[in-house]
Amino acid sequence: MLTVNRLVLLSKCAQIGKGLLACSVRQAGREALSLRQRRSFRSHCRKLAYAKDLFLGQVNKAEVFPYPEIGNEEVEEINQLVAPVERFFNEEVDSSKIDREAKIPPETLNGLKELGLFGIMIPEEYGGLGLSNTMYARLAEIISLDGSIAVTLAAHQAIGLKGILIAGNEAQKQKYLPKLASGEHIAAFCLTEPGSGSDAASIQTRAVLSEDGKHFLISGSKIWISNGDMADIMTVFARTEVLVDGVKKDKITAFIVERAFGGVTSGKPEDKLGIRGSNTCEVSYDNVPVPVENVIGEVGGGFKVAMNILNSGRFSMGSSSAGMIKKLIAMTSEYAATRKQFNKSLSEFGMIQEKFALMAINAFVMESMAYLTAGMMDRPGLPDCSLEAAMVKVFSSEGGWICVSEALQILGGLGYTKNYPYERYVRDCRILPIFEGTNEILRMYIALTGMQYAGKILTAKVKEMKKGNIGTVFSMVGKKLKDTFRSSVDLGLTGKDGVVHPSLAESAKKMEQNIYLLGLTVESLLYRYGKTIVDEQLLLKRVADVLINVYAMTAVLSRASRSISIGLRNHDHEVLLANTFCTNAFFKNNYLMTQLQKHSPENDDANIKKIAREVLENRAYVCSHPLERTY
């Protein structure tokens, strides 16, 4: 049945591909030059990408409209899969016990193994479920009901065995994947070291080729390894000496290390704030002999492997957070409907209603973003969606945190006690902005990737402008004039060839305005800062935020348009949510982009930096105590 599904999917994708091709031909005349430049830059990934083009003020609507779908058989299949998993999580998983005892009981783990949840994305020929990204996202929604289990499973398959899956050779896959898929072996991802987080240069763990040339001897220690205590197979990154152009150089290499190789010791489990049931500890390697054939990819190519693994694992956080919030909405609305104050139920108070609306909107947006991204990733040709995935991660981790804390607030004091699960959700949720790349560093990634892309294309234009080329300046002025006469920006989302449903037209217009302005802003930032924009983190943060908002708007517009068009149940509610979110995001974006303008009074970056500098110089709060006197 599955193979049939795949065929259907493939044919559908081919259609989409054709559509894209036609679209690009249409655009080709208009911007042949820029396309040529783009092609040379993006030689390694697919030609079209949605998020990057936003930096140029363009909408690649074929990429995100219509909202990606899966076939009927697949829907059936996923429903069949979801039902037992949901039952298992509702009936057999005692989250409060896992949290209290800081351990997932073996019978729970066995249940997960039986459900096949240890090999969701491993192809069927290696004994896994062989599900697509979309289906993985759907399962993540349920798995996230228990943070500890979600993290354990994610560490196992989203990063732990991903290296073998995407960069391993056939022999490695044959050898390791079946046991990993069944859950007989558990995987871990060992990258972080005491002196190194995202800085690959400070990795100290070293792999030295033995004299017979058959083994690498790995020595060093890794910290904060999820599943570190129970993992049998580990993806370990270590420094190796590589000859580059005749010069010896240290480069990172990825290895598959079995605990059975000997010399692997794990430290005491860390006592954490949340996700207490997941195992996190230090793992040390003392001259662990690793056969040469266990190198993932090639020697010295570990950096790429690590980056690809990290980039591919992030998209599922959107659906996980959404799943959690949906559950919280159900729980808290029950309470709000029954609890009475002043002879009114809690649900009649405006401030409580606001919280529910916030949760609903957030869940809706996260869901939309997650499944849009997953759908894009499932398209043939290995599309590079790391930028989109990073945006999903940032948005959903922060939204999740806000929603969980608002849910607790609805309960008030009750929520603060251990009698209710809310405090656990708050604690568990706090990890989301931290792991899989902190949100700060991901924002840098989002903004800089786009800046690099836009910069490549705009360099020539900006240089002309700087030189004061009359022609360029006049064409700029002409464009500006034309824009002022035109009432609103039209990027083709609505109207004749429109892809957005008319009931969402207004929101689409707002998004178009945002995108157009983003293009101008990026251009002016490039003009002003050039490559030194790397050091302007506060600006980059805003650029990233605008982009995240725009992507979120895209996702909800696309999803809601589809829902209306095919007549999904309660699609009017979706329209309501989408319009509300878009209005809100529109204002936020406008504010952020005003701040990005030069000499904008809203922009107080200089003050912020100064405050931070003075505080950091003193390494303390600087002000005198208000009770102090001078005479």
């Binding site: 800085d199 980056m307 990290l310 840098m444 690099q452 002003r528 490559k531 001078t630 005479y631």
Partner: protein, 454 residues
């Protein structure tokens, strides 16, 4: 702010001219800069006389008579009041005796005749009794003024300068407080109101003091405590932290001061050696090219209020431009985002926020130390102490470039010989194996300090 800066500048400028003049006037002067400061202030007082109209004095015979009387007695009484203070033994000049003198004066005459002269004399003598910074004493001096006599009672008195000499004396007292940085308190205010009334000149002076003093109290971002630590080690610790201004820097006491008697019966005094070094300095030193020498230089003075301490630095010459290597950009450094953009665009001039400062490369300072005995042997001990945490010092040639410090005045010949020896030292050292460095220094040590055995 600008005004404040002007004031500061003025104050800096004044002592030069003023002290010269006062030196001429007063002959022998105490050496401290504060003394001259005070003197010039008293002079200023004389210059800033209030304008009392002599015509008015005629209209009011009674006070005039007083003043005339005073005038007649002035010379005599001045001597008398000075005498009161002079009578106290030089040794027993303390706050208690000062208070006693004031009490004697107060009790001597109910009318407090000659109190203005007495107060002037007392103000002059305050530093000798060591009470120039004591607010209680100033209040007590103010208390010498008879109360309510000088308070103007009608608008004419209020309009004109009422009892100018007394008011001036009050202002002078406040001004001396200002000089020593003493902030008046409520008691002062109550006294001033009782003596001169609400809107008198001393009251104005008081208000101005109260306006400016609190505002200027914390202008120095690097305050020095009133009482410096007595212990030389503590003092060194304090001053080194102050110079380094690095919260990470660690102070190490390499040697505590102690006196010992050797077997031969010689008195052996070991100087204190206190050093400071931060982690960034250690990092710099570790990267230092061992073929280039490092220098121990000093002593350099550091003034803390009235105390002068000396410190030594371990430094190197700035790297010549050809040796500077910039770390190449490694694209495989950051796992998440590109650390550099591959763009051919630079920052626009309009957004260039850095100033064009002429950068003078001074070369790195690796460590600093303070010691009571700045000879090469002692400093060598410091360097070998540093070597424990900075093993590279064993390979780097260390050159001593010491000036004759204030404490080495007696050893002029010594320092000269040291200067002669220097080139020879360098050649010696470069010939030897780097590991032998400390031994080489050991050999040289006896030449300089015969009595010392370590």
């Amino acid at each position: 702010m600008k005004c404040a800066r002007c004031l500061l500048q003025l104050q800096r400028l004044r002592p030069a001219g003023q002290s010269a003049r006062s030196a001429a006037q007063y002959g022998a002067l105490p050496q401290s800069p504060y003394a001259s400061h005070m003197l010039h202030n008293t002079q200023l007082q004389v210059l800033r006389r209030f304008h009392g109209s002599p015509a008015r004095v005629k209209n009011r015979p009674v006070p005039a008579e007083f003043i005339n009387e005073d005038d007649k007695k002035r010379d005599k009484s001045l001597v008398a009041h000075d005498d009161l203070f002079e009578r106290v033994d030089k040794e027993s000049r303390t706050k208690a005796t000062f208070n006693k003198v004031v009490d004697v004066f107060i009790k001597a005459d109910v009318r407090r005749r000659g109190h203005v002269e007495f107060i002037y004399a007392a103000l002059k003598k305050m530093p000798e009794f060591g009470v120039e910074k004591d607010l209680v004493v100033y209040n007590k001096l103010l208390d010498v003024f008879p109360k309510e006599v000088f308070v103007p009672r009608n608008f004419i008195q209020r309009m004109f300068n009422h009892y100018p000499r007394q008011q001036e004396c009050g202002v002078q007292l406040l001004e001396q407080m200002e000089t020593y940085g003493i902030l008046p308190n409520v008691e002062t205010k109550v006294l001033l109101v009782q003596i001169f009334g609400e809107k008198s000149h001393p009251m104005r002076k008081y208000q101005r003091l109260m306006y400016w003093f609190p505002r200027f109290k914390h202008t120095n971002p690097f305050p020095i405590p009133q009482q410096l630590p007595e212990d030389p080690v503590d003092l060194a610790r304090f001053s080194l932290t102050r110079i380094a201004n690095d919260l990470d820097a660690a102070v190490t006491v390499y040697q505590l001061p102690c006196t010992d008697i050797t077997e031969s019966g010689e008195l052996l005094t070991l100087p204190h050696i206190v050093g400071i070094q931060g982690p960034s300095q250690m990092e710099l030193l570790a990267k230092h090219n061992p073929s280039r020498p490092v220098f121990v230089e000093g002593p350099f003075p550091l003034w803390l209020r009235k105390t002068c301490v000396h410190y030594y630095v371990l430094r190197a010459d700035p790297l010549p431009p050809e040796e500077k290597v910039e770390e190449p950009y490694d694209p495989e450094r950051c796992l998440v985002y590109p650390l550099q953009l591959d763009l051919d665009l630079d920052r626009d001039f309009g957004d260039e926020e850095s100033f064009d400062v002429e950068d003078l490369d001074e070369g790195p300072v690796f460590a600093m130390c303070m010691t009571s005995q700045g000879d090469q042997a002692t400093l060598n001990q410091w360097i070998s102490g540093l070597q424990q945490n900075n093993p590279i010092l064993g390979q780097v040639p260390t050159l001593f470039r010491l000036n004759a410090g204030p404490k080495e005045l007696q050893g002029v010949g010594d320092t000269e010989s040291e200067h002669h020896r220097k080139p020879e030292q360098e050649t010696q050292r470069e010939e030897r194996q780097p590991e032998e460095e400390p031994e080489v220094l050991e050999e040289e040590r006896p030449r300089r300090s015969h009595g010392m055995k370590q």
